[in-house]
Structures are given as structure tokens and as C-alpha cells.
């Protein structure tokens, strides 16, 4: 069984390294500041004992007051998982750092979120619409689209 690591335990570890990086920690997930997302993600990937080498899924959610991006992380070596989240409070030009440099698995998934939610990921090598055509107006999965 894949052991779901508690966000609270991981938060304690991270707080020492990156003070102020963690916004909220719960038993199931860990919410981090967008500015420290890359550092924390790199820490989670490269720290022995954590070794989150496998980014299973990246999902975007529109909560109207903010966009949330959810990273399902897994470690194939230790067979444990963690749900990492980050938020973006802008609606006009939401921006988040891209994690493609760490996990290339995020490549198409970030493009998908960019296409359907309009969040741009800085540092993504080829950020353009993936399912809809260039010139399509709006981002369909936003709650105010329809």
C-alpha cells in the first residue's frame, strides 16, 4: 500500500529549511507559497528519505477567489505519496513557477492547465495551448467561463 505521508510531518521538516514557505498543512496535503514552490519541490525530490521522483498528476482547480494547483507526488523507491498544493490569487494574469525542470511529467499537464485555466507557468519551455486552438478566447475550466 502506498503510504500517504502526513502533510504536517513534512511541514515540520520544511519549516526548518524554508521558513515561511508552508502556508497550511493538513493530514492529507501540504499547501505552500507559490514563491517557494520550486525550492520546496526540489527539496522533496532530492532529499534522501523523501525521494519524490515520480510526479503522478498535476491538477488545477478554480476556487473563484484563487486558483489551486495540486501535485500528486509519489516515491517509487519508498512507495509513499504526498499531495502538494500551491495557490495563485490573481485572476487577470495568474502566474506560477513551472516544475518541468524537476519532473518533465509536468510538461503536458502544465500546458493543459495553462490552456484550460489560463495560468502561465514561468520557466516552461513550450507553454502554449494544448487542446484548444491558438486564438481561442477564454479558458473553459474557469468557473466564470460558462
Amino acid at each position: 500500500m502506498t503510504l500517504a505521508l502526513s502533510g504536517k510531518d513534512i511541514a515540520k521538516q520544511i519549516e526548518k529549511k524554508f521558513p515561511g514557505g508552508v502556508v497550511e498543512s493538513a493530514a492529507e496535503s501540504l499547501l505552500v507559497e507559490a514563491e517557494s514552490l520550486l525550492e520546496i519541490a526540489a527539496y522533496l525530490k532530492n532529499t534522501p528519505g523523501l525521494d519524490f521522483d515520480y510526479l503522478t498528476a498535476v491538477s488545477g482547480v478554480d476556487y473563484l477567489d484563487c486558483f489551486e494547483v495540486v501535485y500528486q507526488l509519489t516515491s517509487l523507491e519508498h512507495n509513499h505519496s504526498l499531495v502538494l498544493k500551491t495557490r495563485c490569487y490573481q485572476r487577470d494574469n495568474p502566474t506560477l513557477p513551472s516544475v518541468v525542470g524537476l519532473w518533465r511529467a509536468a510538461d503536458f499537464q502544465e500546458r493543459e492547465i495553462c490552456d484550460l485555466f489560463g495560468i502561465s507557468f514561468t520557466g516552461h519551455p513550450n507553454l502554449k495551448r494544448i487542446f484548444l486552438w491558438e486564438g481561442f478566447e477564454g479558458h473553459p475550466l474557469r468557473k466564470d467561463f460558462l
Binding site: L55, T56, Q72, V83, R104, Q109
Partner: protein, 376 residues
Amino acid sequence: MATTAKTKEIVVNTEPFVVNFGPLHPSTHGVFRMKITLDGEVIVDMEPVFGYLHRGIEKLGEERTYTQVIPLTDRLDYLASMSNNLAYCLAVEKLAGIAVPERAEYLRVIMAELQRIASHLIAVGSFLTDCGAFLTPVVYMIRERERILDLFDMVCGQRLTYNYMRVGGVSQDIPQEFMPALAKFLKEMPGWIDEYERLLKENEILLARSKGVGILPRDLAINIAASGPVLRGSGVKWDIRKADPYSIYDRFEFDIPVGTAGDCYDRYRVRVEEMRQSLRILRQAIKDLPRGEVRSEVPHLIRPPAGEAYGHIEAPKGDLGFYLVSDGSIAPYRFHVRAPTLINLTALADMIRGWKIADTIIIFGSIDICMGEVDR
């Protein structure tokens, strides 16, 4: 008259040449387009173009009740609808905390494993067609898949979009004629697999075209989060049925076949071996199948408590996940599909670089994609 022989240095410059491959081409297995940049005959770069089958299923899901979403999941990977049903129902059950009766769990496993065989038959058959074994193998494999479709027809009246599973169980119990037909299938299928193996396993043409071609190194496979036979072909022993057992998979004995080289041949081998392992699971499941209810008491309109859940299974094509967010209403607030085939395509450009267009078709075929799932 003596002429001074001058040797003139000839400089040949080649310019990159762009070939549009697809979207409508038999070997793109749907509507997929590749913008291939060639240097002479050799591929230097490729850009995949998606979206020709984008139907906005995730948006549609947000407008429907939890039960009404099940037919939408049929239309994701339409070659493995049962697996999609199962993954979605597991995610909703996790979100709403719904238990499933024992008999339904067994029926789900039986359907999911039959579906895996059906999907792999198409994957292997069309892969061999791509290799140049034109039509004969795929017709053999469609012949066997037909038997599985007949079984599914018995349980739900459908042959492609089954809509069989429900939150809290399955829609109806199996009819009387199902078990004898399944037993007959289980008796005959190993012989058919042996037949394919005799014809193909050591076929010189197949070996020449697929061995060492389109190698996906182990580290890259993990980094791009490849899953299913693509990941296992690269030598990573990772199967959700074992690593994170769902339903009742922890009760069955089976092995995880893995490749060594990560080439097209290994991916093909993994699929054939997985069919045998699925037969093993099926034999154990029909032996232990208990009597009883097939569906727990679930209200018609499911209102899961506000929250989120991620449920995933080992679908035939890889790690199929559903991320659901509930706001306490009758429809999912967010319905996201982790499509294994979309993510498996991430490394396609790396796998075909340095090969020729003829190899591209084989490499692409060995990933086994379904555009319904890629584009959603």
C-alpha cells in the same frame, strides 16, 4: 593541352525538412498529429499536436451528477471503458466513504481483467500491423477480443461503452450464461496466446524492427511519470495493483512482468505476459466469487461531503487517476482525469529522435495510446 586539375571541395548543406504526420493517418491510432523535423531521413525533432478529439469532458462532468459522469468516463479510453468506470467509481467511493459489497468487488476485478486482455489484444495487434505484419495478427486478436465483448454484452448489453459499474457496486448481477462462457474463454485463451507466441515471439522481421528501437531509459521513464507497460518495459517494477492495491487485488497472486532494455520489443513482451497474468487473476476470481448483493444502498443523488479525493488504478494503458473536488452538491466541483496515455507521450520526441519515419510508427504504436483519453 595540359589542364591543371583542381579539386574543388564540395560542401553539401542540408536544410531541415518538416513533415506533417497525421492527424488522419491509420497509424496515428486516432487523430494525432506530429510535426516532424527531418535532417535527410533522420528525425531531429518532433512536436506533438493534440486536441482534435477534445470534447471538454472535464467541463461536462462538472455539470452532471456523480452517476451521470460514469457514461462520460466510458468515452475516455474507449478501448478500456470498464477500467475507466472502475477508476471513477473508486474515486467517488473514496470521496463519499461508500462501501462496496464483496460480490461486486469480485465482479469488478473480473471485468477489469477481461478489459485488460481486450485492450492489450488491440494494442499488440495494431502494434504488429504498424510493424508491417499487415492485418493478419490484428484479425486474430480481434477474433479473441470479440469473445470478451460478447461477455460484456451479456452483463450490460453494450459492446464498447459499457456504463456497467456504479458508485457502490455494479449496475446488475451477471446473467446465468456468463460463467460458463467465461470458463470456456479461460480454457481457450492460453492456447491462443501460445499461437501468437509461436508466430511472433521470435519472428525475424519483428525482432529486426522492434529490438533496440525507441529506447526509453529507466530514469527518463520515471521522470516523465510514464506508467503501465511503457514504464514496466523500461525495467521499473511498478504496478498500482501491487504497489497501492485497490479493490481486492491484494487477495490474488500474480507477477509483474518487466522488460530490461526499454525498447519497443520489451513493451510488446510486457503486454503479452500481462495477458497471461490477467488470466491467472481471473481463474482465482471465479473460483472465489461469493454470492450476495452487487450494489450497496446508495442514494440516487450522491452528495459527498465537501473535500477532495484522488483515486487511481492500473488501467491497461497505465496509471489512470481521477481527482475529484466536492463542494457538497450533487455534481463534482472539479473532475480531473490523469490520463496515462497523454503523459506517456511526453517522452515520444526523445524516443524517436535519431530514428526514421518508418520507426516512428512502430515507436508510437508501442506506447499504445487512445486519443479519446489523450484529448478528453
